[in-house]
């Protein structure tokens, strides 16, 4: 579904990704783990075309999107929950959700909105509250809900557990599992290696802009190298 082939990405003259190849197949949950500054966010943003890859190819559903403008990519069945949630804090919860379905019809928006409230009853309670006044966990739920509003086949999440309480993290990961059961392909980027790999069908380990390891989630969890570096021994 999503394929990255030998992708190099630069910020100015500095190369942040040194030839990364990743594949996410339809219906999978694929987790990418790596330390701070490894290039995880860069990799996701390259998929979105901001910044664009300087060489290599990004292929979505068999189509080369390496040089497509961000706006077009984000309208072709893929949605991202960006790092740090980035909800519209001045808008209400409902308005945030509606922004997510910007290019859909009113009827579709209503349906997706009901669905988002089903997944996150908490959001329904806070429908008319301004998003910026909610807790971190609720904001993360909103960010996921908003991404789902465009009815994507694939959702990309950038460190959804960042800065959340363990109980909330558990909830978020349950929802991610649930999304796969609904048929949505999930590409999950995390520093929280244990839970991310536990949930994943397959996983990648990114180290300073290069894929270091790749395997099934279970095997990576059992891998002594991974255990030492990412699971605290």
């Amino acid at each position: 579904m999503l394929v990255l082939e030998d992708v190099h990405t630069h910020y100015g003259k500095i190369e942040a990704l040194h030839g990364v190849s990743v594949e996410v197949k339809k219906g999978e949950i694929v987790s990418l783990i790596g330390a701070n500054g490894a290039g995880k966010t860069t990799l996701l943003m390259t998929v979105c075309g901001n910044p664009q890859a300087s060489s290599g190819r990004v292929i979505l559903n068999g189509r080369d999107i390496t040089r497509d403008p961000t706006a077009n990519i984000m309208r072709s069945g893929i949605a991202i929950v960006p790092e740090g949630r980035r909800i519209f804090s001045g808008l209400t919860v409902e308005e945030n959700l509606h922004m997510g379905g910007f290019f859909n019809t009113k009827a579709e928006i209503r349906k997706s909105q009901d669905h988002a409230y089903e997944l996150f009853p908490r959001l329904k309670e806070r429908e008319h509250q301004r998003a910026g006044t909610m807790s971190g966990g609720e904001q993360q739920m909103l960010a996921i809900g908003r991404a789902l509003m465009s009815k994507p086949n694939m959702i990309i999440l950038d460190e959804p557990s960042l800065g959340l309480a363990p109980l909330v993290i558990k909830q978020i990961f349950e929802i991610i599992g649930h999304l796969r059961d609904e048929g949505i392909t999930v590409f999950l980027v995390e520093q929280n290696a244990h839970q991310a790999l536990n949930l994943a069908d397959r996983g990648y380990v990114l180290e300073t802009g290069k894929i270091r390891l790749q395997d099934t989630g279970k095997n990576l969890l059992a891998n002594p190298e991974v255990q030492n570096a990412y699971l605290g021994g």
């Binding site: 901001n50 403008p69 706006a71 077009n72 949605a79 519209f88 001045g90 922004m99 509250q129």
Partner: protein, 423 residues
């Protein structure tokens, strides 16, 4: 702590002296072709010293003073009031606006000619501020060259009437569309820039247009400007004492009333009122449409907005173009009201005043913009003796606003909401 305050206060007092003494303490006098410097009289020097002392004392006790001010803020901001529902607030706002418009329709018939003329100017500023509000308040693009589009509108009408004899009603949409085109063409390269850079480039653009108008003497008459711009007509009826154009009739003869110069002033006022209402309604409509929400989203968080598939360029350009369109509108009305325009009317100060109206009004809210436009245009007229200090009063008002109501007179959204109790 106290020692630090003392040092800081001393420093501020020194800066006050340093800035005001050279400006106020010397007089330049022209004697023939020579200019001589003379010292100012003692009262000025005493005044400067007094100012330094006031600054010193204020800075010394700043914490206490600002503490008091903070208390005041909580009173005025109505912190303890229940927040009003968004839609209820919107409803009240439309009622108030409708009321204002109905009042505004009738009062010129009871007012002096000067007052109506001034009110027309207020309406022009309202149009300008409503337009700039789209760009700055809603889309969050700091445009310091907005006056350029105003100039395009005004000059379009002036030139069209001078060279082709085009009437006001024809020139109105043409001026607005041309201004919008300028907005579109200019916005394209400029809108990639962010924040400060955008502000500087738009500032430069505003100056370029003014300088162009000033120097393209063949076409625009340069600093001499263009005169004899016709008044609007009402279904072919002119408001002058004698009919200027063939085929037209005159208003007072048609209705068999005595000629009065006031008819024209009131008519222009009513046109400006109708156009200002039109501007407000159209922009309101835009705000409710998806494009309005896109402006807001992009202002709030550009990365998030783009991640949802919004095109940054398209969204920003739409705001820029619509803002320019209404500036062109206002420009046409202005040219017709003045009958004469020159580049003098389109200096940076105008951009600054319009921006001040938007900021004072509370970015994004229409009632706020209307109130601020009235205040900013009328107050200097009421205090004519102080007209030299206009900019000073203006600056002071801005600083006070930033202290008391940084969100503006009527912020678009509630800044503050009661959290529901956690279960």
């Amino acid at each position: 702590m106290a020692a630090h305050n003392f040092k800081h206060a001393l420093f501020c007092a020194f800066i006050t002296l340093l800035i005001s003494y050279p400006i106020l303490g010397f007089n330049l006098e022209a004697q023939g072709i020579n200019i001589t410097i003379t010292g100012a009289d003692t009262t000025t020097i005493l005044g400067v010293l007094l100012a330094a002392v006031v600054v010193f004392l204020f800075q010394l006790f700043r914490d206490q003073i600002m503490g008091r001010v903070g208390d005041l803020t909580s009173l005025t901001a109505g912190k303890h009031k229940e927040p009003m529902a968004e839609n209820r607030r919107a409803k009240i706002e439309s009622w108030v606006l409708t009321g204002i418009v109905i009042l505004a329709l009738f009062w010129p018939f009871f007012m002096s000619r000067g007052a109506v003329d001034l009110a027309t100017l207020v309406l022009i500023y309202i149009m300008l501020a409503l337009g700039l509000n789209v760009v700055v308040g809603l889309a969050g693009l700091l445009d310091l060259g907005y006056v350029a589009f105003y100039a395009v509108g005004a000059y379009t009408f002036a030139l069209l009437s001078q060279y082709l004899g085009v009437s006001f009603w024809f020139a109105l949409p043409i001026g607005a569309l041309l201004a919008a085109t300028f907005g579109l063409v200019l916005g394209f390269p400029v809108l990639r820039l962010r924040g400060d850079y955008l502000a500087i480039v738009t500032l430069g653009f505003g100056e370029i247009i003014r300088i162009l108008l000033n120097n393209w003497t063949n076409l625009t008459g340069g600093p001499n400007g263009i005169g004899g711009i016709p008044d609007p007509t009402l279904f072919g009826m002119e408001f002058g004492r004698r009919v200027k154009e063939e085929g037209n009739t005159s208003f007072h003869e048609t209705f068999g009333i005595a000629y009065s110069g006031e008819h024209k002033v009131i008519f222009l006022y009513l046109i400006a009122l109708v156009l200002a209402v039109f501007t407000a309604l159209v922009i309101r409509r835009f705000m409710r449409m998806p494009v309005g929400r896109a402006w807001e989203a992009l202002r709030e968080d550009e990365i998030a907005a783009r991640s949802l598939g919004l095109s940054r360029t398209a969204v920003k350009l739409s705001a820029f173009t619509i803002g320019a369109f209404f500036a062109g509108f206002a420009g046409t009305v202005f040219a017709s009201k003045q009958g004469f325009i020159s580049p003098e009317s389109f200096v940076f100060l105008e951009s600054a005043i319009i921006l001040a109206i938007v900021v004072l009004g509370g970015m994004g809210s229409q009632i706020g913009v209307v109130l601020a436009a009235i205040a900013v245009t009328i107050l200097p007229e009421l205090a004519r003796e102080f007209s030299e200090y206009r900019m000073l009063i203006f600056g002071a008002a801005m600083v006070l606003m930033m202290v008391w109501r940084p969100q503006g007179l009527m912020p678009m959204r509630r800044i503050h909401i009661e959290l529901k109790k956690q279960e």
